[in-house]
């Protein structure tokens, strides 16, 4: 449904995106992941025909964004970063306006409004001025606008910003429910969001795509070592050195409070048994021993910190896993 081929966008000397290529199949949900200023919004603006690409081709549903912008625009629902609402209109008036602007027949507008008001829980605020609504409601009105004409392609720029946790879950459920019938691109810098709703993740950094795969495969592919977290109550001073001697353990880092260690082990070699035996035999007071899998967050940090996307843990004293406490942890 969406096909982006070698698209480059330059603003004067500055290259915002550089030969970006990706595609989205019908019914697929794709997450566009990247730090601020990576080029997510620029890519979306090109896809929605808001701005033309400097080089390359972008197409939606078989129509070229440069040649047939109106056809493309008809098939897209777009939620920009800031919800595009008119504060002086009520929610219902605004959605009516959007429907008419898109040339929808009156009964389709009515049906669309009823559907979206129901789906996004806008019932209680339907007749209030948008200017008086909270950020969360405005965001939902923005989503209603994008969904109103039931477009085959949805482009959502950070759709869950400004929502409370309950609403975030609701919106994610909504996006998941759209998968299958709609192609969705959503940009985010919230990583769990990408894992939660998307089948595929494109990581963009500095205007370039640095990785593209399913969330699980991405973390598998970029894993260079298995990591084990160990916590003991009575760690002797030479604990780090002793741990390093365990076969398979490559690096040992003190991790937070005294007695917590993070061990990097050879890939595919589970050192937990040996580490556990050591801790118990030495009477260190073993309280926790678990392996840590790499989350998307780790992948993301690796990829966006190091341009090449192959961060070697040997490179520096800082562990490649930034914050193991936030990772998905598998208890032994």
């Amino acid at each position: 449904m969406i096909d982006v081929q070698q698209v480059t966008k330059r603003y004067g000397q500055h290259t915002a995106i550089d030969r970006v290529t990706f595609s989205v199949a019908k019914g697929e949900v794709l997450a566009f992941l990247g730090p601020n200023g990576a080029g997510k919004t620029t890519t979306m603006r090109i896809l929605t025909c808001f701005m033309p690409a400097t080089e390359g081709r972008a197409g939606v549903a078989g129509f070229d964004c440069g040649d047939q912008p109106l056809e493309v625009k008809r098939r897209i629902g777009y939620l920009p970063e800031t919800p595009p609402v008119y504060q002086e209109l009520t929610v219902a008036e605004y959605l009516h306006f959007v429907g008419r602007l898109r040339g929808m027949p009156d009964d389709a507008v009515k049906a669309g409004i009823a559907r979206e008001v129901e789906r996004l829980g806008l019932g209680p605020v339907q007749h209030r001025l948008i200017g008086n609504l909270s950020r969360g409601y405005r965001q939902r009105v923005g989503l209603a606008q994008a969904l109103l004409h039931d477009p085959p392609v949805l482009i959502l720029d950070e759709p869950t910003v400004g929502l409370d946790p309950k609403q975030i879950i609701e919106i994610r459920e909504l996006i998941k429910s759209l998968a299958g019938s709609h192609s969705v691109i959503l940009s985010t810098h919230i990583l769990p969001e990408a894992t939660a709703v998307c089948q595929r993740v494109v990581i963009i950094s500095g205007g370039r795509i640095v990785a593209e795969d399913t969330p699980t495969q991405l973390s598998a592919r970029l894993r260079h070592s298995d990591k084990v977290a160990l916590t003991v109550t009575r760690a002797p001073a030479d604990a780090e050195a002793r741990l390093r001697e365990v076969p398979g353990v490559q690096h040992v880092f003190a991790n937070g409070p005294a007695g917590s260690f993070l061990l990097e082990c050879e890939l595919g070699r589970d050192a937990r048994e040996d580490v556990g035996r050591l801790a118990v035999m030495q009477g260190w007071g073993l309280v926790e021993l678990k392996s840590i899998s790499m989350t998307l967050e780790d992948v993301f940090l690796q990829l966006t910190r190091h341009e090449e996307g192959v961060a070697q843990p040997e490179n520096g004293p800082e562990p490649a896993v930034a914050a193991p406490s936030t990772s998905t942890e598998h208890q032994v």
């Binding site: 603006r45 625009k73 920009p80 504060q87 002086e88 898109r102 009156d106």
Partner: protein
């Protein structure tokens, strides 16, 4: 409802829920009312003087009241219309609804013309209310209606031109104050070109400069002259301004 009508309806709605139209309208009608009161009183005094001197009064109300009034309203419009147009595009850019508008399946022509039409309708409404003035005068005296009607045609065209300049200014910036100021500037420039033209005298350059100003074209209409040349001037100037606005907006996409 076509997309253009949707835009017109939405813009009208936006105008009438904001206080701007009411304030601008009130000030406009107050000033125009006050001006016509002054001109009528002055005309009345002159009539009394003539009566005393000659025993009878034959004064031309068209000249004494309406030509003066039409000349003054021109200046009032110059000050008031930029306030109406300043929000048209600036506000959309500021509030980030511009991107939404530009990604809607509707051409830029339709957006520009829809916005222009909406503010033109607001202006016509205000102008229509001033129609009460000649109607009131007609209750008490006789005058020639034809120059009044052509004068109103002139006002409508002049207002449309001012509004088109305002649309262009609003497309240039996301700051509404700057937009209003730019349209004041452009309109004053067009105004002063008449002076420059008469300074240059009856040379080719002088004629061209005078032609470019709206002054003589508007004067013709106020005097009851309908000349195709003047109509062509207004229509082409309005279209040119809207076309420039179109180009300016389109170019923002390339930046």
């Amino acid at each position: 409802m076509t997309p253009v009508n949707a835009i017109i309806a939405k813009e009208l709605r936006s105008y009438f829920v904001s206080p701007v139209v009411y304030v601008v309208g009130a000030v406009f009608l107050l000033i125009v009312g006050l001006l016509s009161y002054l001109y009528i009183v002055v005309a009345g005094q002159q009539a009394i003087q003539l009566m005393q001197m000659q025993g009878q009064a034959q004064i031309n109300l068209n000249d004494l009241i309406f030509r003066n009034l039409f000349a003054s309203v021109r200046f009032v419009l110059l000050i008031i219309l930029p306030i109406l147009t300043m929000r048209l595009f600036s506000e959309e850019m500021k509030l980030r609804t511009f991107e939404f508008l530009m990604t809607s399946p509707i051409g830029l022509n339709e957006i520009v013309s829809g916005k222009f039409m909406s503010v033109f309708l607001v202006f016509l409404g205000l102008l229509g209310l001033t129609g009460l003035i000649p109607l009131t005068v007609a209750l008490f005296s006789d005058f020639d209606w034809f120059p009044i009607l052509t004068g109103y045609l002139g006002l409508a065209l002049l207002g449309a031109l001012f509004l088109a300049v305002g649309v262009l200014a609003s497309a240039l910036t996301e700051n509404q104050i700057v937009a209003a100021f730019v349209s004041f500037g452009l309109l004053l420039l067009l105004w002063l070109m008449a002076g420059l033209g008469s300074l240059l005298g009856d040379t080719t350059a002088g004629q061209i400069v005078s032609y470019l100003s709206f002054m003589e074209h508007y004067d013709h209409l106020v005097r009851g002259l309908i000349d195709t040349k003047d109509l062509v001037y207004f229509v082409s100037a309005i279209v040119l301004m809207l076309f420039l606005a179109h180009r300016v907006i389109d170019s923002t996409r390339w930046k």
